[in-house]
C-alpha cells in the first residue's frame, strides 16, 4: 500500500508537471498577443499607460515632451517602443495592422509609407480630424492631405516635415577656394542642380582628393527627386518612374557626379557613412533640419560651428512623420488626446528647438523657438529662418504607395553602382530590373 501511494503521488506530480508545462507552452504562445494588455492597462498606481510605436529618433522623449505631458495629466503614463530603422519598423506595422493585433496605442507612419497606409489600412485608424481640439488649418495643406483618404478621413497628424537645404562645411569650402557666405553659396547653384554639380567640380579642382564634394549618391538623387512635383507616380496613381524624364535626369546627373568622383561611395546612415562624418570627409550634404541632429551626433567636437546652411538649388521635402491612433487600441481617447497635444504648434516648436525636427504647423514658424533656432554645428546661423524659407517653396509632391521600393531600388541597386565603376547605363538597367521585379504582384 505504501508503495502504491507513493507511486500515485509521484504520478500526480508528473501529471502536474506535464500539465503546467503544457499550460506554460500555450500561455507562452498566447502571451505574444497579450503583451499590449499588460503594458497598456493601468499599473499598480492606477495610471493609464499609453504606448507609442516609433522608429528612429523622433525625439519626443529627448525633448522632454512626455515628462511635460505626464505632469499636465497626472493619471497618464507614457511608454515608447522604438525600432531603429523604418525599413524594419514598417513591415511589422503592416503585419500588425492586417492582423489587428500587437498594435501600440499610437503608431508613427513615415511619409514614404503614408500613401500606402492611407490606401490600404485607413479603416484601422481613428479619424483624427474628428478628435477634440484638432484644427485642420494648423497644418500645411499638403501635409494634411497626405494622411487623408478620398472620403476625408485623416488617419494621422503630422509631426515634422523636412524642408531641404544644403549644409556645407565652411572650412572645406574655404580651402577649395569657394565662397563661404551662405547667400553667396546659395547663389552658386540657385535654381539648377546642374550648377550644383559644376560647383562640385570647382570644389574638386581646389580641394584635391582628400575629401569629396558630397556624402553619397543616394543623398544626391534623393535631394534632386525631392524637389520634383511628380517623381514615381503621376496624379492618377500610375507608376511613371521609368518614363518620367525628371527621374532619368536625376539618375543621370547623380551618375555623372559619381563618375567624376564628386560623391563618396557610401550608403547613408550606415556605420561607414557615420565614420565619414566623424572624419570630415565631405563638404556638403542635402540637409533637412533633422540632418543637423545626425551630423551633431556623429561629429567630433571640433567640427562644431564649422557647418553652415545654404538654400538647395530647388526646395524639396525630405522626411516627415505622422502619428496615428489604431482603432484596436485599449485607450483610444487618451491616445488621441496625447497625439493632438504632441502635434500642436507649441510642441512642434519645442521639438524643433531641442531636436531640429521642423514643424509641419506654420503657426509654429512665428514662435520664438523656431525664429531663434540655432544649432551647435552651424554656429549662429539662423536655421529657423533658413529652413522656414525652404519650407515655403516645397512643391506639393505626388506620393505613391510604393515610393520607398522605387527609391531604394534607384539608390541601392542603381547609382551606388556607378561609384563602383559600373556605367550609368548598366546601373540604370540593374535598378529598373530590380524595381520592376519588386513592384510586380
Amino acid at each position: 500500500m505504501r508503495a502504491a501511494r507513493r507511486g500515485s503521488a509521484r504520478r500526480v506530480v508528473v501529471m502536474a508537471a506535464i500539465a503546467s508545462l503544457g499550460a506554460g507552452l500555450l500561455a507562452g504562445c498566447a502571451d505574444d498577443g497579450n503583451d499590449e494588455d499588460s503594458s497598456s492597462s493601468g499599473d499598480s498606481s492606477g495610471k493609464t499607460t499609453i504606448t507609442l510605436g516609433l522608429f528612429g529618433t523622433m525625439g519626443f522623449k529627448e525633448a522632454g515632451l512626455y515628462d511635460e505631458y505626464e505632469k499636465l495629466n497626472p493619471d497618464i503614463n507614457i511608454e515608447e517602443n522604438v525600432t531603429e530603422r523604418n525599413e524594419n519598423y514598417y513591415p511589422a506595422l503592416v503585419n500588425h495592422l492586417t492582423t489587428n493585433s500587437g498594435l501600440q496605442d499610437v503608431q508613427a507612419i513615415e511619409v514614404g509609407n503614408i500613401a500606402e497606409v492611407v490606401a490600404t489600412q485607413a479603416d484601422k485608424f481613428e479619424d483624427m480630424s474628428k478628435a477634440a481640439g484638432v484644427q485642420k488649418t494648423n497644418w500645411l495643406d499638403w501635409k494634411w492631405q497626405q494622411a487623408t483618404t478620398k472620403d476625408g478621413a485623416t488617419i494621422g497628424l503630422g509631426t515634422d516635415i523636412g524642408p531641404m537645404a544644403i549644409c556645407y562645411r565652411t572650412d572645406l569650402f574655404k580651402k577649395a577656394g569657394l565662397p563661404t557666405d551662405r547667400d553667396e553659396v546659395s547663389k552658386l547653384w540657385a535654381g539648377d542642380w546642374n550648377k550644383f554639380i559644376e560647383t562640385g567640380e570647382k570644389y574638386k579642382d581646389g580641394a584635391g582628393k582628400d575629401t569629396y564634394f558630397m556624402d553619397s549618391p543616394g543623398g544626391l538623387i534623393n535631394a534632386i527627386l525631392s524637389s520634383e512635383d511628380e517623381k514615381f507616380y503621376n496624379a492618377a496613381g500610375e507608376v511613371i518612374y521609368k518614363t518620367n524624364p525628371a527621374v532619368k535626369d536625376a539618375f543621370d546627373l547623380t551618375a555623372e557626379a559619381a563618375e567624376k568622383g564628386l560623391v563618396q561611395s557610401q550608403t547613408q546612415f550606415q556605420p561607414a557613412w557615420d565614420q565619414t562624418i566623424s572624419n570630415s570627409l565631405f563638404a556638403t550634404v542635402a540637409c533637412p533640419p533633422w540632418m543637423l541632429g545626425t551630423i551633431k551626433a556623429k561629429s567630433q567636437p571640433d567640427s562644431a560651428g564649422k557647418w553652415d546652411v545654404a538654400q538647395a538649388p530647388k526646395a524639396g521635402n525630405w522626411g516627415g512623420t505622422f502619428l496615428g491612433v489604431p482603432k484596436s487600441g485599449k485607450h483610444v481617447k487618451e491616445a488621441q488626446k496625447l497625439v493632438t497635444w504632441l502635434t500642436a504648434p507649441e510642441q512642434q516648436a519645442k521639438l524643433f528647438s531641442k531636436m531640429g525636427s521642423f514643424p509641419s504647423a506654420p503657426a509654429a514658424y512665428k514662435l520664438p523657438q523656431v525664429t531663434g533656432g540655432k544649432n551647435d554645428m552651424t554656429g549662429d546661423a539662423p536655421i529657423g529662418e533658413l529652413f522656414a524659407k525652404a519650407a515655403e517653396q516645397i512643391p506639393t509632391q505626388v506620393i505613391g504607395p510604393k515610393d520607398q521600393i522605387v527609391q531604394q531600388g534607384l539608390t541601392d541597386n542603381g547609382v551606388i553602382l556607378v561609384t563602383q565603376g559600373k556605367s550609368a547605363k548598366d546601373a540604370w538597367d540593374n535598378a529598373v530590373k530590380t524595381i520592376d521585379n519588386n513592384l510586380e504582384k
Partner: protein, 337 residues
C-alpha cells in the same frame, strides 16, 4: 508508470498479510464491480494515455507547422498582398510558372548553391581535423570543447554584425591588414565572389565547432583496440585515421552532410545582415541574395505574399529533391561498404 497493486494482484485469502475485514455477499459483489471498473479504467488508461502524452507536440505542429504549410500552399495559388491578406485573387499556377522566367529566383538559387558549397565543404573538413586533434589526450580538453561550441551559441545577428565590421570596405579590419602588408583593399560586399566568400566565412565560423563535437563524440565511441591492433600492425597515425576512424565515422559523416545541406539551403540571417545597404536584396546586384533572402524580400519588403508563398513551396520541393538525393547516395555508400 508504477504498478497498480490494488488491481494487479488480488489479496491472498488467509495469507500472511492482514486480510480485508470479512464482509457479506453484497460487499464482495461491490468489491468485484469496483475492481472491474478499475480494470476498465486501467485499460483505457493504457490505451489512450500515450496519445495524450505525445499530443502536445502534434497539436503544436498542427497549429504552427502543418496549418501554415497548407495555408502557404493555398496562398501561393493566389495574388495576395501583405497589406490585405484576406483579399485573394485566384491565379492558379501562375506564381509557379513565372518562377521559371524569374532570373532573380535562379540567381538566388545559384548563390545559395555556391555559398552552400564553399561553406559546407571546408566546414566539415575542418571539423573533422579539429575533432581528430581533440581526440588525442589533451590537458583541459573540456575547455577546448566548450570554446569550440561558443560560436554556435552566439546569435547569428551578433556574429554577423561583427563580421560586417571586419569585412568593411573603408574601415574594416581585414582590409586594414591587407593594406598593411601592401595588398589592395577588397570591396567585400560588392564583389561577386568576395561577398559569397565573406558570407560563407560567417557560416563556417558558426558551425565548424558544432560539427567537430559531433565527430568527436562519434570518434570516442570507436573501440580503442581497433587502434591498438592497427598500431601493432605498424600503421601510422595518418593510416589509422584513414583506415580506422573514417570508416567508423561514415554514418556520422552522412548525418552531418545531410544536416549541413539543409542548413545551407536555408541560409538567411548571415546574408541579410551582411548587406551594407541593410536591404534584403543581397547586395546591389543581388550577388549574395540567397533563396531565403529572396523569399523574405518578396514577402516582407515587397509585400507580395502570393509570390513569396510560391517561392517557399519551390524551396520546399528543392529540399525534398536534395533529401532524396542524399538518401540514394547514402544507400549506395552503405551497399558498397
Amino acid at each position: 508508470m508504477t504498478t497498480r497493486h490494488d488491481t494487479a494482484a488480488s489479496p491472498v485469502k488467509g495469507g500472511a498479510a492482514p486480510g480485508r475485514p470479512p464482509g457479506g455477499r453484497a460487499s464482495a459483489e461491490a468489491d468485484r464491480r469496483k475492481r472491474a471498473k478499475l480494470s476498465r479504467r486501467w485499460q483505457r488508461d493504457m490505451r489512450w494515455s500515450p496519445y495524450a502524452f505525445v499530443s502536445p507536440f502534434f497539436l503544436l505542429f498542427l497549429a504552427f507547422g502543418l496549418f501554415p504549410l497548407i495555408y502557404t500552399g493555398w496562398a501561393s495559388l493566389h495574388t495576395v498582398e501583405l497589406t490585405a491578406p484576406t483579399d485573394m485573387q485566384w491565379t492558379g499556377l501562375d506564381n509557379y510558372t513565372r518562377i521559371f522566367d524569374d532570373e532573380f529566383f535562379w540567381n538566388a538559387a545559384k548563390n545559395t548553391l555556391w555559398i552552400g558549397v564553399i561553406s559546407t565543404v571546408p566546414q566539415l573538413l575542418m571539423a573533422m581535423g579539429l575533432a581528430h586533434i581533440l581526440n588525442y589526450k589533451l590537458r583541459a580538453s573540456t575547455f577546448y570543447r566548450v570554446v569550440m561550441l561558443a560560436p554556435y551559441a552566439t546569435s547569428i545577428a551578433a556574429a554577423s554584425l561583427v563580421f560586417v565590421l571586419l569585412f568593411g570596405r573603408d574601415y574594416g579590419m581585414i582590409n586594414w591588414v591587407l593594406d598593411m602588408v601592401g595588398l589592395d583593399k577588397i570591396d567585400w560586399q560588392n564583389g561577386s565572389w568576395s561577398s559569397k566568400f565573406a558570407v560563407s566565412t560567417i557560416v563556417i565560423w558558426r558551425w565548424t565547432g558544432y560539427n567537430a563535437l559531433i565527430y568527436l563524440a562519434a570518434m570516442q565511441a570507436i573501440p580503442q583496440d581497433l587502434y591498438e591492433s592497427a598500431a601493432l600492425d605498424g600503421a601510422s597515425r595518418w593510416r589509422q585515421f584513414i583506415h580506422v576512424t573514417l570508416p567508423s565515422l561514415r554514418p556520422t559523416i552522412l548525418f552531418t552532410v545531410v544536416v549541413s545541406t539543409i542548413g545551407a539551403s536555408q541560409v538567411f540571417g548571415e546574408p541579410l545582415l551582411f548587406d551594407a545597404n541593410k536591404g534584403a536584396s543581397g547586395g546591389s546586384q543581388h550577388q549574395f541574395q540567397t533563396l531565403g533572402l529572396y523569399l523574405y524580400e518578396q514577402g516582407w519588403v515587397n509585400q507580395h505574399l502570393g509570390r513569396a508563398s510560391a517561392i517557399a513551396w519551390a524551396m520546399f520541393l528543392i529540399l525534398i529533391v536534395i533529401g532524396i538525393l542524399n538518401a540514394v547516395i547514402s544507400r549506395r555508400l552503405r551497399a558498397s561498404s
